[in-house]
Structure formats: C-alpha cells, structure tokens
C-alpha cells in the first residue's frame, strides 16, 4: 500500500459520459492500482472531504473511476476537465480474493464500478451479470463487453446460478439478496467515509455482529461476515 504520508496530485486525462455516469481518467503517476475492489479517496473540488471510489479501470499510465453524480462532491468530480488536477490517496482497504474456482461477477447500477478491473485481473475468464434501473443507466455496460444485462424490473439475482463463486457490488438490497443465495459470495459494500484509512470511525457497518470500520475491514467482505445484517433485512 502507498504510504499515508500525503495524497498526491494527479492530472485529469479524460472524462467520458456513460449514460448518467462519468468515467473519470487520471494520470497514474506513482500510484499502484492495487487489488480489484480496493478504493481510492479522490479530492472533490470545492468540498471539505474527499470521496471514496473503487478503481474501475487501470490502463497503462492511468487510473479510471466511474462516478455517479449524486451530490455536490460527485458532481464536482464529473465537472472536471482534462488538465485539471485533484489529490488522490490509495489504494486503500481490502479487495476481492482472486483465488476462486468459478468466478461470476455481479454488478448493480454504479456498483459495476470495480468489475471492469476485476474482470481484467481474472483474465476474462469470468461471466458477468449486470443489472440497471433503466436503459440509460445500462449504457455503462459498455465497460464490460460480453456481459449479460438485465433492466428493472428483472433483477440480477433471478439469473444467478448458485454454483458460482459470486463477486458482487451493488445497492444494499441486491447485496443482501446475493448473500442469501450465495453464502460464500464476496460483496463490495458501501458506506460514507471521511478519511478512508481508519481515522474518522464514520464508515462502520455491522460486520461479524459488531460495528466495524468498513474502510479497514472491507469494502469487500465475505457474505458470512454480514450474516446478522442480512438476516435482519430478510
């Protein structure tokens, strides 16, 4: 992992829209891309706190992040133009374990973000299943050529074969449904984070039956560690 000494400054090399989302490309410079599912804290211009994003793409010399403009910080990131600079810290947290026998990648909405880099690291061997709430949102599926895509009201969980080693990321109800179907699934969870390195204690999730910091324990967690939470929701 990069030393936590200081976030480094990175130039924007590209910004492309994919439906409602923006794929933001940054100069990689000194940063390692890390393990798929790990995240980076990106400075949100004009805001006090950075925002956490899992790495979406890692082309040579670049880091790519998929951003959904849901608030002022994410909107500021979508408004960046090539040549602008932001501070970046990472990679942080725990990513996916890649040593699985029959990987199946499952993504919902903006939760598809870590899957392109994950698919690349799995060397294209894994089938991919994506769900979106509209055809416009589904334009982001272009990041994962060959993926099976469903649009609401069809749910990805209706198509999951439980014989696979599921590696999922998406909204909480989707992750809970995946966890019930596939108790061995690896799930990339989400929580508001101020720091990303264990300092703020803000991102706690009920893990192993107690409130723990997602930035240190996850964001990728074995479904079994979320049992209490999944059972409570069921």
């Amino acid at each position: 992992m990069q030393s936590l000494a200081s976030p480094s400054r990175h130039r924007v090399t590209g910004s492309e829209t994919l439906g409602p989302y923006t794929l933001l490309r940054l100069e990689r410079r000194n940063l390692e891309p890390g393990v798929p599912g790990q995240f980076f804290m990106l400075e949100a211009p004009g805001r006090l706190l950075p925002r956490p994003f899992s790495l979406c793409l890692a082309p040579t010399g670049e880091l790519g992040f998929l951003v959904d403009p849901i608030g002022p910080g994410t909107q500021a990131l979508c408004d960046l133009r090539p040549g602008d600079e932001i501070r970046v810290l990472g990679p942080l947290g725990q990513g996916y374990r890649l040593d699985v026998a029959r990987p199946l990648l499952v993504g919902g909405g903006i939760g598809i973000a870590p899957l392109p880099y994950l698919a690349e690291q799995l060397e294209g061997a894994a089938p991919v299943l994506l769900g979106f709430r509209s055809a416009e949102h589904a334009e982001a599926a272009a990041l994962l050529p060959g993926a099976e895509v469903v649009i609401d009201p069809v749910l990805v969980t209706e198509l999951i074969d439980p014989g696979f080693d599921v590696m999922a990321c998406g909204p909480e109800p989707m992750l809970q449904a995946v966890a019930e179907l596939c108790p061995t699934a690896q799930l990339a969870w989400e929580a508001p984070m101020a720091c990303g390195y264990g300092a703020c204690y803000g991102c706690v999730v009920e893990i192993d039956g107690a409130l723990k910091r997602l930035c240190l324990e996850g964001p990728v967690l074995d479904a079994a560690r979320l049992r209490a939470r999944v059972e409570a929701a069921a």
Binding site: A5, E43, L48, V204, L211
Partner: protein, 286 residues
C-alpha cells in the same frame, strides 16, 4: 508549538506513520465500559464543515489498558490519554490507573456533544482527577458553554494544568426530504466553520487563566495554527483536516514556519507573546 491530533480524529494503530509525524498522539476517549458507539450513518459533510456522531466508540478502560496503550506506547510518540465518563469517579478511576511510563498527559473530555452531559461539574471532575494522578491534566471544554472563560477559571482552580479548546459544537443537518442526515439526529460540527469560534474561546480563556492551551477547531494550514498562537494557544491539534490529508502534520509544521516569516514573528511563541501587548492583541470582546 507542538502539533497534536484532536481526540478521535486518528487511529495511531491503524495509521502509525501519521501518528509519528505528531509531537504527541491523543487517544480516542476512553470510558470505563466498552461502547459500541452510534448507529450509522455517523458522518455527513456540511458547508465548510462536517458532522459526526461516533458516540465515543471505544474498547473500555480494561481492554484499552491491556491491549491498546502498551502498543501505543511503543510508537515513539508521547501518548495523551483522552478520558471520559459520566461521573467524577468514572474519570478519576481511569486517571488513577494510568502509568507515567505509558501516558505523557491526560485530556479530560468534559464536552463530547454525542453523549449525555456528565452529572458532575467540570471543576468537580478535574478536582477528582487531580487527586488521582500526577500526570499533566488538560481539560477539554466546549465553546457551547455561554461562560467558557468562567469554566476555564474553575477548572484552573481545581488543578488543571492546561486547556484543550474547543470540542465540536452540537449541530444538525437535513437531507432533501428534511430528515436528519445522521442516525443519531444531531452530531458534533467540526472543520473550518469552527475556527472563528475556537479562536475566540482560546483568546478569552487565555486571558482568564494564562494556562497552556491546545488550540483546535478548523485548523487547515500553518497560517491557521499561527492565528491560534496569536490568540494565546501554546500548542495546536489537527482534527478534520487529517481526514482529507493524512500528511497534514508535516505540512502544517512546514507552513507554520513560513507563516511566522510572513507575519514578521520569530516563532509561534513570539506571536503569543506579542498578542499580550495592547497594540497587537486581537480585539476580542469578552
């Protein structure tokens, strides 16, 4: 001028390289019994600040002493233990079991906005702790108290060696559907929005007591730290800025030297001394 962290804004065991850049590390507040803390969501960003309602999550006194403090004392940085509780006896019992080879000082958290107020007064708590330990005692006060300088005088008379000013201020933020953003409802407001409030509190408490003061509240830069010195702070602590920039301790230290040069003072101590002269003291109505 030493640079510390504000209590609860850094986990030195999770990020030891950040803690080692500080002149002293202040622990998260330790209470007699373990506390899981508040339900999420616990944090939210506001204009020029952030809200938190962590709820004093901590492992409790026994586990802190057995598992955390021995590891913290290996970091090579002086450790200040932040002590919390609900009665004067709670605070004093924790102070009594802290050893001077592991803890360099005690900060009494008399002002967490995310727990109910302690039943005993700040001065009663300080007096009880003074009887329990010879370690330096810093009383962390809230600027929400309408007479903070009077509280400062009272804790000074009760035996406090210094003051930590200020804690977060209780606040609330709503989402677009007009519901509180935090699960707890209200939380503590921190960040740059606090700086003017903190500078005022430091100034009037410095004038009231002359005690050493760790100034904190919205410090983002070395220039901010120098303003705290000019208002009477002897040391400063970094809080919210650490979240966006774990390199802030070294950066603020470097900027502080440059800010002194720009302000025409030799050092932060020089700025504090000059603030005492009538010509240069910030005009702060008491």
């Amino acid at each position: 001028m030493r640079i510390l962290n504000a209590s609860g804004c850094l986990d030195a065991l999770a990020a030891p390289e950040v803690a080692r850049e500080l002149d002293a590390f202040v622990t998260k507040t330790v209470t007699p019994l373990p506390r899981e803390g508040s339900a999420p969501p616990r944090i939210a960003e506001t204009a020029h600040g952030m809200l938190n309602a962590i709820g004093l999550a901590n492992p409790g006194r026994d586990r802190f002493l057995a598992e955390h403090l021995p590891r913290l004392s290996q970091l090579g940085v002086p450790i200040w233990v932040s002590v919390g509780g609900f009665t004067a006896a709670d605070y004093a019992e924790t102070c009594a079991v802290l050893r001077s080879d592991e803890a360099a000082a005690v900060e009494l958290n008399l002002s967490c906005p995310n727990v109910d107020e302690a039943a005993d007064s700040a001065a009663e708590i300080v007096a009880a702790c003074r009887r329990a330990t010879e370690l330096p005692l810093y009383a962390k006060l809230s600027a929400a108290h309408p007479e903070i300088a009077e509280v400062a005088r009272a804790v000074a008379a009760a035996g406090a060696d210094g003051l930590s000013l200020i804690n977060t201020l209780r606040a609330v933020a709503l989402d677009s559907r007009l519901r509180p953003l935090l699960a707890r409802g209200s939380g503590g407001l921190s960040g740059p929005v606090l700086k003017p409030v903190a500078l005022h509190a430091v100034s009037i408490c410095h004038e009231a007591t002359g005690l050493p003061i760790v100034g904190m509240g919205g410090i983002q830069s070395g220039g901010d730290a120098l303003e705290f010195a000019a208002c009477g702070a002897s040391d400063v602590a970094l809080g919210t800025v650490l979240f966006a920039d774990p390199g802030a301790p070294a950066r603020v230290r470097a900027e502080l030297a440059a800010a002194c040069e720009d302000a025409g003072v030799v050092s932060p101590d020089d700025a504090r001394a000059s603030a005492k002269s009538p010509e240069t003291q910030p005009k702060v109505p008491a």
